[in-house]
Symmetry: C2
Subunit: 154 residues, 2 copies
DNA sequence: GTTGAAACGGCCAGACA
DNA sequence: TGTCTGGCCGTTTCAAC
C-alpha cells in the first residue's frame, strides 16, 4: 500500500483503461500505453500489490433484475445502539452501502428494493435503532464510473 | 433490454462470478458454471445485449491516490435553478454521483476530494443553487460490490 | 448446446540496458 | 529495477455439427 509514490503517465493511463474496461487483454493494454505485454502485466501487478487496484467487477443492472427502487436512509443512533446496529445491517440484504457520517452519530444507508412495500418493511426493522429519514431516488443524473478526471487532472 | 425474462441458475452464477472477478477467463467461467467455453461466452454476450451486464470496471482506491475525503452534500434547489444546476455539476470533477431524491427538489451529491479546503471551495461554488448540507464520511462499515445475495435469494 | 483447430493472449524464464 | 524476447500453455474465436 504505497501512499506517496507518484504515478507516472503510464500508470495513470493503465488505471484509466482498466477503469473503463476491466476485461481489456493485457497485450492490448500494453499496446495502448506503449508497453510490451509482459511489461504491462508487470505494471498492473505492481498497482495491485500497491493497493491502488482493488479488483475488477462487472456492473450489473439491478433495475433490469427487478430492483426498481433505490433509496437513501439517514438514521441517527446513539452510542449504546451503535455496535448492534452495525451488526444488524450486515444481515439486511437490501442494504448495499452504509456510511458513518459526521454530525450526531449519523449513518447513511443506500438500499435497493423491488417495491415500496419492501421499503416500508425495511424502515420498520430499522426503527428500534433510531429515527430513519428516507428519500427515494427519482433519477441519477450523474454516475461516474471512470475516475479519469481524478487521475488526469491536478 | 429484457425486463421480465427470468434468469436461470447458470445466468445467475455467471453474474455472480463476473461481479466478483470481471477478469476471469471465459473458459474458466464456463468450467465454474458447467458450460463449454463458447457457450459461456454466448451467455455473457446475451446478458450484455439484454442490458443486465453493463460493463467491467477496475476498482481504484481513491484514498491511496490522495483523495482522502468523501462527503455527501444534500442540496435543495427550486425549479428555475434545476436545469442550470444539473449542467453545472457535470463540470465539477469532485462530484462522482448525483441523485435526484424525493422531498422538495432535493439532490444528493457524493463528492471526493483531497482536503477540507477543497471541500469548502466546492460548497461555496454550490451556494448559488441552494443551501447545501454537508456530511463527511468517517468510515464505510458496509460496501457491497458483489450483488450475490440480490441474485441468489428471493 | 458441443467439439475441434488455428490464432491469440497470459505468463514465466532469461537477456539486456 | 524495469523492460524486452522467446517459448509454452491456456484461452478465444469460429466453423461445423
Amino acid at each position: 500500500m504505497r501512499q506517496d509514490t507518484r504515478l507516472d503517465e503510464i500508470d495513470r493511463k493503465i488505471l484509466i483503461e482498466l477503469s473503463a474496461n476491466a476485461r481489456v487483454p493485457f497485450a492490448e493494454l500494453g499496446r495502448r500505453v506503449g508497453l510490451s505485454p509482459s511489461a504491462a502485466i508487470e505494471r498492473v501487478r505492481q498497482l495491485e500489490s500497491d493497493g491502488l487496484l482493488h479488483g475488477y467487477h462487472a456492473e450489473i443492472d439491478l433495475k433490469a433484475l427487478g430492483y426498481s427502487i433505490t433509496a437513501f436512509i439517514r438514521l441517527t443512533c446513539d452510542g449504546t445502539r451503535y455496535r448492534p446496529f452495525l451488526k444488524f445491517i450486515q444481515t439486511l440484504d437490501q442494504v448495499v452501502e452504509c456510511h458513518h457520517l459526521t454530525g450526531g452519530d449519523a449513518f447513511l444507508l443506500r438500499v435497493v428494493l423491488s417495491s415500496t412495500a419492501e421499503l416500508e418493511q425495511l424502515i420498520e426493522k430499522l426503527l428500534p435503532y433510531g429515527m430513519p429519514t428516507t428519500s427515494i431516488v427519482l433519477s441519477t443524473p450523474l454516475q461516474r464510473r471512470q475516475d479519469a478526471h481524478l487521475l488526469t487532472k491536478r
